[in-house]
C-alpha cells in the first residue's frame, strides 16, 4: 500500500506527520520524500544513505550533418526546446519535457536522445525503516520528471521488500502535488485550522477528489484559528483521521528536528491511531484484530 501525505498550504505539518507515521508504521515500511524541490524528510528520519545516483531525462541531440532544416521537429515541439529557421537548428535542452516527439518525427533520423541532469535520487535506512528521496538540481524548473523516476524506484523497492510506502508530498495543488499523490492508494491531507490553512485545504480537496482515492484529513495545530475546517469536513463527509494539538513544546521539538511521535506516549498513540484510521479508510471491512493477526 502506498500512502501519500499532502496538503494545500505549505508548512501545515506534512513532513512532521509523514515522519511520525513512518516511525509508528508496521514494518517493512519505506519513507519516500517526493518534495524534490525542498526535501525535508531526511532531517527528521536521519537516514544512513547507502547509495545515490544522478537522475537524467531525455533531451534532443542533433546530428547537424544529417539535418535538412525541414523544421518538422520545431513545428511539433510544444515547448520550444528545438528551433529551426532559415538554415539554423538550435536546441534548448532546459525547455524539453522529454516527449521524444522530435526524435520520432525527424525524417532523416538526425535527432537522438541526449541527457539533461534533473537532480539526485538517494536511498538508505533509518533504523529499521527504508528511505528514498529525490532532490531537484537548483535551476531545474520542473519537478515531475524527477518525481517519476523516484516513483519508479519506489515501486521497485516495494516489489522487492513488500510492505508499505509513505510519501511526503510537495505542498500545493498543481502538477507537482498531483504527481506525488496520483499513484497512491490513499491521500492524507494535513492542514491547520487557520484561514490560510482552510482556504488551501479546500483547493486540495478540489484537486484530489477527482483522483477517486480515499481521502482523510489530519488537523495539525488544532486549537489555533477557528472551526471552519471542521464544518467543511463534516459537510463533505471527509473523515478527520487525527488531531495534533497546538503546543509550543511540539513546535520547539519540531524546530529541533525531532519526531513528534517520540515526544510522549500520548503523541505516539495519536499516530498509532492515525495509522489504524488510514488502514480502515483503505479497507473498511478490516478490524484492528485482523490487522494484528
Amino acid at each position: 500500500m502506498i500512502i501519500s501525505v499532502a496538503s494545500g498550504k505549505g508548512g501545515t505539518g506534512k513532513t512532521t506527520v509523514a515522519a511520525s507515521l513512518t516511525a509508528v508504521w508496521d514494518r517493512p515500511v519505506l519513507g519516500v520524500d517526493l518534495d524534490v524541490e525542498e526535501p525535508n524528510l531526511h532531517l527528521f528520519l536521519h537516514p544512513d544513505i547507502h547509495g545515490s545516483e544522478t537522475a537524467h531525462m531525455l533531451v534532443p541531440q542533433v546530428e547537424e550533418a544529417k539535418c535538412t532544416y525541414c523544421g518538422a521537429c520545431s513545428e511539433l515541439c510544444q515547448f520550444k526546446a528545438i528551433s529551426v529557421f532559415n538554415q539554423v537548428i538550435l536546441t534548448f535542452p532546459e525547455m524539453c519535457h522529454g516527449c521524444g516527439g522530435c526524435i520520432e518525427i525527424c525524417p532523416e533520423k538526425a535527432i537522438s536522445a541526449g541527457q539533461r541532469e534533473l537532480g539526485e535520487i538517494s536511498w538508505g535506512r533509518a533504523g529499521d525503516v527504508d528511505f528514498l528521496a529525490g532532490r531537484l538540481r537548483i535551476g531545474e524548473a520542473m519537478s515531475p520528471p524527477l518525481m517519476r523516476l523516484v516513483k519508479l524506484r519506489l515501486n521497485q523497492t516495494l516489489a522487492e521488500n513488500g510492505g508499505d510506502a509513505i510519501i511526503d508530498a510537495p505542498p500545493g495543488v498543481s502538477c507537482p502535488a498531483v504527481n506525488a499523490v496520483m499513484d497512491s492508494e490513499v491521500i492524507v491531507l494535513v492542514t491547520e485550522p487557520t484561514p490560510f490553512g482552510f482556504y488551501d485545504f479546500k483547493l486540495a480537496w478540489e484537486a484530489f477528489t477527482p483522483l477517486g482515492k480515499p481521502l482523510g484529513a489530519v488537523i495539525n495545530r488544532a486549537g489555533v484559528g477557528d472551526d471552519a475546517i471542521y464544518r467543511f469536513c463534516r459537510e463533505k463527509g471527509l473523515p478527520i483521521l487525527a488531531e495534533i494539538p497546538y503546543d509550543r513544546a511540539i513546535a520547539e521539538a519540531y524546530a529541533r528536528g525531532r519526531i513528534i511521535a517520540d515526544l510522549s506516549p500520548g503523541l505516539k498513540q495519536t499516530f498509532v491511531s492515525l495509522k489504524d484510521q488510514i488502514r480502515h479508510l483503505v479497507n473498511p471491512g478490516r478490524t484492528r484484530e485482523a490487522a494484528h493477526a
Binding site: 520545431s74 520550444k80 528551433s83 529557421f85 539554423v88 538550435l90 534548448f92 525547455m95
Partner: protein, 121 residues
C-alpha cells in the same frame, strides 16, 4: 536594401516601441531606405506557455531583417537572434518606432553583446 524589425505596440511608425521582445504585441519591419513598413503580429508567441522569446525570434528571422530594436531581450531569444545572424539593439523602450529607427540610422544604437534581461519562462 536593408530591413530592420522593431518591437511595436501597434502597426504604425508612431506607435511606441514595445519594451518586451518575446511577448511583444508585434514587430514593425521597416525598410530603411523607403521607410515602408510591414507589421507582423506576435500573438502566437504571446500565447505560448514557454519559449515565447524563441518563437518571436524565429518570426523575426523569417522576415529576413538584419537587426532588431527593442527594450529587453532574454537569453534564449538573444541566442536565437544571434544564431540567425541578426543584430540586437536593446533599451529603446519609451521611444516611438520612428524615433528608434532614426537613432539606428544615425548610428546611435549600440549593438548588444549580451541579453539585458533574465530568462522568462
Amino acid at each position: 536594401m536593408s530591413k530592420i524589425a522593431v518591437t511595436s505596440e501597434g502597426p504604425s511608425l508612431d506607435d511606441k516601441v514595445d519594451p518586451r521582445f518575446g511577448r511583444a504585441a508585434g514587430f514593425l519591419v521597416v525598410d530603411l531606405e523607403s521607410l515602408e513598413t510591414q507589421y507582423i503580429d506576435n500573438g502566437q508567441s504571446q500565447m505560448m506557455a514557454q519559449g515565447a522569446g524563441i518563437q518571436a525570434a524565429e518570426l523575426v528571422a523569417r522576415a529576413q531583417v538584419s537587426c532588431v530594436l527593442t527594450g529587453y531581450v532574454g537569453p534564449r531569444a538573444f541566442q536565437t537572434l544571434i544564431a540567425a545572424g541578426i543584430k540586437v539593439g536593446q533599451n529603446l523602450e519609451g521611444l516611438t518606432v520612428r524615433q528608434a529607427v532614426e537613432r539606428f540610422k544615425n548610428g546611435q544604437v549600440e549593438m548588444a553583446q549580451a541579453p539585458n534581461n533574465r530568462a522568462g519562462r
